[in-house]
Structure formats: structure tokens, C-alpha cells
Amino acid sequence: MHEFALVRSLLSQVAQIVEADGGGSVQEIRVRCGPLAGVEPTLMREAFALLRRDSAFVEAELVIREEPLRARCRRCDQTFEPQRFRFRCPHCGSVDTITESGDAVMIESVVVGG
């Protein structure tokens, strides 16, 4: 249940970025997150609905795109989607694998009106 703090941080980062880019009214905030991001998209939407009221984002929509978990094998260099969070490489059986995506909330872009 830390979605509130996360969305608050998201809004303040977006505000700074838009300001530095010349300002304008934010129409859309696009983010993506995966199964190991540690957030529930539904709760993020609820938090956003509450938080945007008292912010410069009254007009804004939050668009959340869910992405799958992706890992890369350091032995055979192939990528794969871990099933049920199993990180063993399905190509060569190695356990030396790293998460490439799906473990974070990424701010992709912001749509700003003139």
C-alpha cells in the first residue's frame, strides 16, 4: 500500500520535468510497470484520482501499460519471460540471469498542451 507515496513522487517529478521543458498543461502521463514492480495498477489509479484534484494535474489522465517480466541469460545471452517468477534460463539452464524489465515503474512520457 505505498502507491500513494509513489504517485505523489511521480507527480512532483512530472511537474519538474514539464516546468524545465517550458511548461504547459499536462494532458496525459504515460507509465509502464511489470509484475515485479511492487505496485498494483488499480491502486495507482485510485491514488492518482485522489491526488490530482489538488495539483496542477486536474486535466491529466494517467495511462498505465502493463509489461511482462523479461530476463536475460548471462551465459547464452538470450532473453526470456520468466514463468511464475522462475529465473532459470529456459534455453541453457543457467541460473546466472538478470532482470531486464518488469521490475520497476517507468515514467515513459508526458503529453503537454500548449
Binding site: 505505498h2 517529478q13 517468477f85 522462475r86 515503474v105 503529453v111 498542451g113
Partner: protein, 237 residues
Amino acid sequence: MTSNETRVITIERDVTATARMDAARFRETMTARGTLVVNLLSSPGSGKTTLLAETARFWGDQIRCGVLVGDIATDRDAQRLAPWLPAIQLTTGGACHLSLALVQQGWQQWEELPLDILFIENVGNLVCPSSHDLGEHVRVVLLATTEGDDKPAKYPKAFRTSDGLLITKTDLLPYLPFDVDVAAQDAREIRPDIEVIALSALQGQGLAQWCQFLQEQRRRHVGRRPANESADSTVNR
């Protein structure tokens, strides 16, 4: 003036990027001070406080430990720990996890205290704490035998982000359908290089192995031996 026109600003940034950088900075400060920071997470009641008291008792004054202990309310854990090691209670006021800001506030009270290991006992919760880097060098998750051996895959993030797994309360194994190998295997599918130690804080099995793990981590991350440690100090206590 360009009105009515919209533009897209591409960002591509992890929303926690700044928080991660702050945590990394705290970690570097602690490395420079020679203090290993260990973040303990588990569901409520898995045995974090009991383990910390027993760890401090095991080492005596050989290794200087301190603990910042998080709870939603009350200072009960700090009171329990006080006879064994310096302890500061951090109360989150309802929040389900400790934040770096809270940890740093607590740590400020100790800036002058030379510590070999700073433990952070997180709020009992297997979900939210796993998303928060507290500037620790080592993250350890506790799983009590009473919780069931199927938990790793149910709370993947806690296990994926941990360097060590402690299977606690092994003295209860005779009474429970808990298979240590199943739990360890499940955890290793999620985090292949996780170090698994089974222990009973109450009866002492596995405690020496846990303390040795901490010493190894200290050498690895902080690169020094504790001032009071003698060559064979971890064995036969």
C-alpha cells in the same frame, strides 16, 4: 505563442530513480565508516527481534551491533532489544514499511557510535518493504517454519531482492508439514544465488552459520574486519 498544440516529452525514467540514488549515497557513507548495513524483512512474527537479540548475545562485545527497529506503533521491540544491543525505535505512524528518510533520522542519533553492523528490522510485511532500498548492503528475508514452505513464489519480490534467506524456528519442524529443501529450492528458482540458512534462535542451531555469513558479507562489502575480531572468533562460542 503556440496554443492548441500538444507536444510529447519523452522521459524513460524509473520513478524511484532519485530514491535509489539517495539510498546509494547512504550506502557509500556507511561503507566509508566501516559499517555493514543489513535490512531484515519478513511477515509479522517470523522472529526478527528474537534473532537480533540472540545474534548480539552470541557475539558479546566482539562485534559492535546496533539496530534501528521499525514498527507501525509502539516501541516494544526496541524495549526487548535494549538489554542486548543499542536499539532505536522508528515508528512509521501507520506506514507499512520503513523509508530511507526514517532510517537516516534514526541514524543521526548515532553518528558518533562506532558500529561494525547496523541492523534495520523492517516492519513485519512481506510486500511493501521489498520495494524500498534503505541503503543496505545486504537484504535478508526470514521465513518461519510456521508460515509454510510455499511462500517464496507467493511473495516473489521479497525473495528476488534478498541476498539471504533465513528459515527460522526450525525447532518446530517435528510438528509442522514444512520441508526446508522445498522452501530453499523455491527461493533459489526466484533468486538463484540466495544464501539459505536454517536456524532456531530459541535453541541456537544455525546461529553460528548466520553470524559467519554476516562476517563474510562485512568483509565483502565493507572490506574490513571488525576491530575486536580475532582470527577464530566466530567458532566455538
